[in-house]
């Protein structure tokens, strides 16, 4: 027999109520962990981008193409090492729900610019050599069971043609950093251009964005300003920013998701605190006489209060740890789900250690908040009055 056993038994005095409260704590804590992990993953993806790449897009919108003729002009600016054309393809594999990202790129330049895109040299060479070839990320390969040599039919939605576009898988890459999605397909920009030029396909001409790699000594701000100044007179004004700012802009395009997720997390925290406070107040009201008995036996006011605080902490910490455990258990499924979700691809979704620490701290804080009122009430209870209580 110990005081902890009494606390444990008291927690399970009403098993259904306790299990429901535990369930609420578990779900709430899992939500907190999940929401914060989404935020930290988004944050990590922004922070992990290379600092020597800048992105040039139309000043009007990301959805307005730039003239292909801008490429050699940008290449001529001092500090620019290479320029890669990127075009969002927006195709569909068989069904709309099979969505994944496809980009038309300059293979040689793209692979040189993105050292986080790890691909065996023979596969890279095969990709570069085959105009209808493509490379896919390992997440994408795993998702559809594709392997090298497979012919992948993609139905165009922006760039349409008779029948499906067909790409031959020439390589499977692995991503080394959170900013680079392993659920994407890259194919030859020239192939897309050729099909449009020959009118075998229809779609908007031009380039979605130019990815500009800078030389080591170049100042990103100065080069960005120089590019935008070059096209200030048209025909299309440009907006050039660092890749980090570009990624962050993408995130805010989701409707200020980070702030929204933060608010939901805060609401979940308070909902759980209120649930637990309610459960603890009911519990303490039912046990006034028990507290009187403990005082009659010689337990101090402080110990009587600590019993309630202990119960509250036990409930919130157990629920919190279970929720955290569930958070860890669902990392892989979340990676697969979020990794292929249009617009919010988070293939590197993870529960960081600081999130786990925050979850435990939140559980502790909620336990303290919920336990403090019953604890004070128990400590202040007059033993003679408590023993006369009808409950």
């Amino acid at each position: 027999m110990s005081l902890f056993r009494l606390i444990r038994r008291n927690v399970m005095r009403h098993p259904v109520r306790s299990l429901l409260t535990l369930g609420a704590a578990l779900v709430a804590m899992f939500l907190l962990v999940f929401l914060r992990s989404v935020l930290t993953t988004l944050d990590d993806s922004v922070k992990s981008v290379a600092t020597n790449r800048i992105v040039t897009q139309s000043a009007v919108s990301l959805f307005v193409n730039l003239p292909a003729s801008y490429q050699p002009k940008i290449e001529g600016i001092e500090g620019v090492e290479s320029v890669c054309r990127f075009q969002w393809f927006g195709g569909v594999y068989k069904e709309p729900q099979n969505f994944f990202a496809q980009f038309a790129v300059d293979p040689e330049t793209m692979l040189a610019q993105y050292d986080e895109c790890q691909i065996p040299a023979d596969q890279a060479a095969a990709f570069k050599a085959d105009r209808r070839g493509c490379i896919i990320g390992e997440t994408l390969a795993e998702r559809f069971g594709w392997k090298i040599g497979d012919r992948v039919p993609i139905l165009g939605t922006i760039f349409t043609k008779e029948g499906a576009w067909e790409f031959d898988v020439r390589g499977i890459y692995r991503s080394e950093r959170a900013n680079f999605d392993a659920g994407t397909m890259y194919f030859h920009f020239d192939y897309l251009d050729e099909m449009l030029e020959s009118e075998k396909a229809e779609g908007p001409r031009g380039v979605g964005v130019f990815i500009v790699k800078l030389s080591d000594e170049a100042d990103p701000v100065a080069v960005s300003d120089a590019i935008d100044a070059l096209f200030a007179g048209g025909p299309q004004r440009t907006r050039t920013q660092t890749e980090a700012a570009f990624q962050a802009g993408f995130i805010t395009m989701l409707g200020n998701v980070p702030s929204f997720l933060g608010w939901i997390g805060g609401a979940v925290f308070f909902a759980l605190a209120l649930t637990l406070i309610n459960a603890m107040l009911i519990s303490s009201s039912e046990r006034i006489r028990d507290t009187g008995v403990m005082k009659a036996l010689g337990f101090s006011n402080r110990t009587c209060g600590l019993v309630y605080l202990g119960e509250s902490l036990l409930l919130s910490l157990t629920g919190g740890l279970l929720g955290l455990g569930l958070g860890y258990l669902t990392v892989q499924p979340m990676r697969q789900t979020l990794g292929s979700t249009p617009g919010i691809a988070l293939p590197f979704y993870d529960v960081r250690t600081d999130t786990a620490v925050m979850a435990v701290a939140a559980a502790l804080l909620i336990g303290l908040l919920a336990g403090i009122a019953p604890a004070l009430r128990a400590a202040r209870l007059d033993p003679a009055e408590a023993l006369r209580a009808e409950v």
Binding site: R13, R289, G292, A296, G298, S300, N301
Partner: protein
């Protein structure tokens, strides 16, 4: 369980009043009483005469407005907070009409509960709880929860809990009020044995003359005034 000499209880000039809404009810207005060491006293009187309040003041659960309650060398009325709790844990065992066992604990765990406040290790606590249950004849019910015990058994567990710490004084407030005659007699015999064999000072509040007959003497209170003392 030791047979040490229990202290006498001396009450001098006890004043105690309650507030009931705007009204102040005087329970004691200068009560003087003395209980001999190792005595078994039944306190009788009509409802509101102050019997339970007297037990609570002697046990330090309720505070006197003025006057002194001395148990042995200790002036209980001068103790406060943790010191009062600690004194109670060492020297007083309470028995209530409604048994007041903790429902989530087994019989043995209930008996062990006050032992958590004593300087004993887990093994010593367990042995002492077993012994207390043996004294009340419930060793075979140690693992039963209160809900699985009869009223008489519950009260015997409560007695075991009260004597587990080997207190000097046992304060019993209507200990047989909720029991049938047979169970009540078993409990009263036990209390008489605690006083006679183990030298505990037992103060028992009761409305039942048959219960009072088990005590060595009966004290009658009326409106907070000691009116009669009779040997049984």
């Amino acid at each position: 369980m030791s047979t040490k000499i229990s202290p006498e209880i001396v009450i001098e000039g006890l004043r105690k009043s309650y507030s009931r809404g705007a009204e102040t009810v005087d329970v004691f207005e200068g009560l003087d009483l003395k209980f001999a060491a190792g005595d078994f006293v039944a306190l009788m009187g009509p409802s509101g005469s102050g019997k339970s309040t007297l037990l609570n003041v002697v046990g330090g659960l309720d505070r006197a407005d003025s006057g002194r309650v001395r148990v042995g060398d200790t002036d209980v009325t001068s103790l406060r907070g943790d010191a009062l709790s600690a004194w109670r844990s060492r020297h007083v065992g309470f028995i209530f009409q409604a048994f007041n066992l903790i429902p989530v604990l087994t019989a043995k765990e209930n008996v062990e509960l006050p032992l958590l406040l004593q300087p004993l290790n887990a093994k010593q606590r367990s042995e002492q709880a077993d012994y207390a249950l043996e004294i009340v004849g419930l060793a075979d019910r140690a693992k039963h929860r209160p809900s699985a015990l009869s009223g008489g058994q519950e009260q015997r567990v409560a007695i075991a809990r009260a004597i587990a710490t080997d207190p000097d004084v046992i304060l019993a407030d209507e200990p047989t009020g909720d029991l049938d005659r047979q169970s009540a007699d078993a409990v009263l015999e036990l209390l008489a044995r605690l006083s006679k064999d183990l030298g505990k000072t037992v103060l028992m509040v009761t409305h039942d003359p048959a219960a009072a007959a088990f005590a060595r003497q009966t004290l009658y209170l009326e409106k907070g005034i000691f009116v009669e003392r009779s040997a049984t």
